[in-house]
């Protein structure tokens, strides 16, 4: 018996070691790629930001310039093109992402009510994911096919404009590209529908028995449960918004590399600052949506407690009566 045990132990450890080796063999291509094409470039680009880099006879010449007027960072902060574009990008993310998440959630709710032709609507809503590329969305946008509303003459819009031109500007960006905004909802809708379908229907039953109406069910059951999905969708959308033609920062970064005076060092700095902004945005999304919700302890007011106690007493009395009878 004892021998058997040690035998199984030995074979187990052996298989574990084996497993390690085999798993790493399977993962090897990706791991190499990750180290070479993600980890190294990531830190190399950050390293680049401290230097003035010029290309001479196809070799890169590094000159440390951080001490001269803040180096590339100083240049980046003084740059008249990059910072406004970055600000525009941030404003765009802040206005677009919540809109996209809310619209996607509403559409998913509606599609999940069991309407007929659900699959047809899903096909339509997912379709932009397939065709949206930089040039296509760029062309459709600049040729006016993206805007569908005549918002500029709207009285409410004019009121907002007179109060706060900044808000009006970000709103106009939203309306001008409303279709494009909708086009980003494709993947979130599918994710939300999936999350909603996973909710146990018994929960609804229980809530209904407790006297909840559908509005309360929406806020107390559906919204809390899809929170993690909303976070995932938000990350998706933040990343996607960055990659498409809507984002001018990419073009500036690319253009800077080839410009004589600035070069790779400044472009790296732009890319680094931009990446920081994206990380911060994802972090904000995490703080708002991603944190697991604490279970709330319900505190009853003294009156509620009293009435609860009364109810309990009454029930006890009834039960006693029933028992004596």
């Amino acid at each position: 018996m004892a021998k058997n045990k040690t035998l199984t132990k030995i074979t187990e450890t052996k298989s574990m070691e084996n497993q390690n080796a085999i798993a790493y063999l399977f993962i090897l291509p990706w791991l190499i790629g990750f180290l070479v094409f993600v980890v190294y470039p990531f830190f190399m680009t950050i390293y680049n930001t401290f230097f003035q880099i010029s290309s001479e006879a196809n070799t890169l010449v590094y000159t440390f310039n951080l001490m001269i007027n803040g180096g590339n960072y100083g240049t980046a902060f003084r740059n008249v093109v990059f910072f406004p574009q970055l600000l525009d990008f941030i404003v765009m993310e802040i206005t677009y992402v919540p809109t996209i998440i809310v619209v996607a959630f509403v559409l998913a709710l509606l599609l999940n009510t069991g309407v007929k032709g659900q699959s047809l609507f899903r096909v339509i809503f997912f379709f932009p994911v397939i065709i949206m590329s930089g040039p296509v969305s760029g062309i459709l946008r600049y040729n006016g096919a993206g805007s569908i509303f005549d918002y500029a003459d709207n009285i409410i819009f004019k009121m907002i404009l007179s109060y706060s031109p900044g808000l009006a500007r970000s709103l106009s960006g939203l309306f001008e590209n409303f279709t494009m905004v909708l086009w980003f909802t494709g993947i979130p809708i599918i994710l939300f529908i999936n999350a909603l379908q996973k909710i146990n229907p018994n929960l609804y039953e229980a809530a209904k028995i407790d006297g909840a109406n559908s509005w309360q069910i929406l806020w107390k059951i559906k919204v809390p449960i899809v929170r993690s999905t909303a976070f995932l969708s938000a990350v998706f959308v933040i990343i996607q918004l960055g990659t498409y033609a809507l984002n001018p920062v990419y073009g500036t970064i690319q253009g800077t590399i080839y410009s004589r005076g600035a070069g790779i060092g400044l472009a790296s700095t732009f890319a680094f600052i931009y990446s920081l902004v994206v990380f911060i945005l994802v972090g904000v999304a995490y703080l708002l949506l991603g944190k697991p919700e604490k279970t709330k302890q319900i505190k009853l007011s003294s009156i509620q407690e009293k009435s609860m106690q009364e109810v309990a007493k009454k029930r006890l009395a009834q039960a006693n009566k029933g028992a004596t009878l």
């Binding site: 390690n20 798993a23 399977f26 993962i27 291509p29 990706w30 791991l31 790629g33 990750f34 070479v36 094409f37 993600v38 190294y40 470039p41 990531f42 680009t45 680049n48 196809n58 559409l107 509606l110 599609l111 009510t113 309407v115 609507f121 096909v123 809503f125 932009p128 994911v129 397939i130 065709i131 590329s133 930089g134 040039p135 296509v136 760029g138 062309i139 459709l140 040729n143 096919a145 993206g146 569908i148 494009m180 599918i190 994710l191 529908i193 999936n194 995932l232 990350v235 933040i238 990659t243 690319q254 590399i257 472009a267 790296s268 890319a271 680094f272 931009y274 990446s275 994206v278 994802v282």
Partner: protein, 334 residues
Amino acid sequence: MKHLLLKLSQIQGNIQAFFSRVKEYYRIRKNKIHSIIAKIAIYTFLVTISYVFLYPVLRMISISFMTSADLVNPEVIWLPKNIQFGNYDVAWRVLNGSKSLLNSIQYSTIMAVFQTIVSALTGFAFARYEFKGKKFLYAILLFSFIIPIPILLITQYNMFNTFYQSIGHTGLGKGLNTFDSQMIMAFFGQGVNSAILILIFTNFFKMIPSDLYEAGKIDGANPLQLFWHITIKLSLSTIVVVFLFSFVWNWNESYVTNFLVGDGVQLFTNQLGKFDSLFSSRAPESPYAGTGVQLVESYKMAATTVSILPLLVIYFVGQKSFVQGIEKTGITGE
């Protein structure tokens, strides 16, 4: 007069009876009526939203058939007065159609094959094995999705540049003028959205019952055989999903290609991106050349339609697997 009053009261009675009947009907079928009204509202909303979704594409197709006269004519909104197929002819020439189409298909297919294979291998390891540092690597995989492309791309470009120079692989049709760099990256699991593809595979492979693997092991199968005979053969539908996603994403990818390939290879997307500058050189003998920006719009829309047509075909053939791919294998990453 009396007669008239009698009739009037009769009518009044009728109306009252009618209303009471309506009320009765409403009382009995309250729920049903409510649900019908809700349904009408939902359908109206969904149809409206669908219209907004499809508006740019419908508009694009409509404009792509218009002549310059139709474009300026305020009466013409959707249907052009005389349909102009010639726009597509010009668009095809400007895009250098037959060549770009072949290149695009070749490029997307190669990239998709590489990405699918590597993602499947990686996903298999994450789903099946417990190994040291698994959680850390998995977290890193998820994190790699949110790293913006430019911060990597600058150094990647320099790396490939020095690499090609050191092995003398430069010049026309070599090195940075081809999509070799992207092929290498895709082969090592760093193509477009590779992280998502790996996630799809991982989540799907986890659903395969481990009894099957146990049975395979008892029968003496090695890991590669387990991978091939059980995992791959059971997940053909997922492989199709990943391949299609990869194909479409690579087709639509323009930033990395622009950076690493530039003008080296003619693809639909990069030709479309430079439509305006290519127009004057490639379609000089067109009858409308130089008559203003308006007409270029028709050509441009025709070109856009042409460039997304292959994707539309793929989507309508495989639309179910696209939606189910996201849905079932769930990127809901736990």
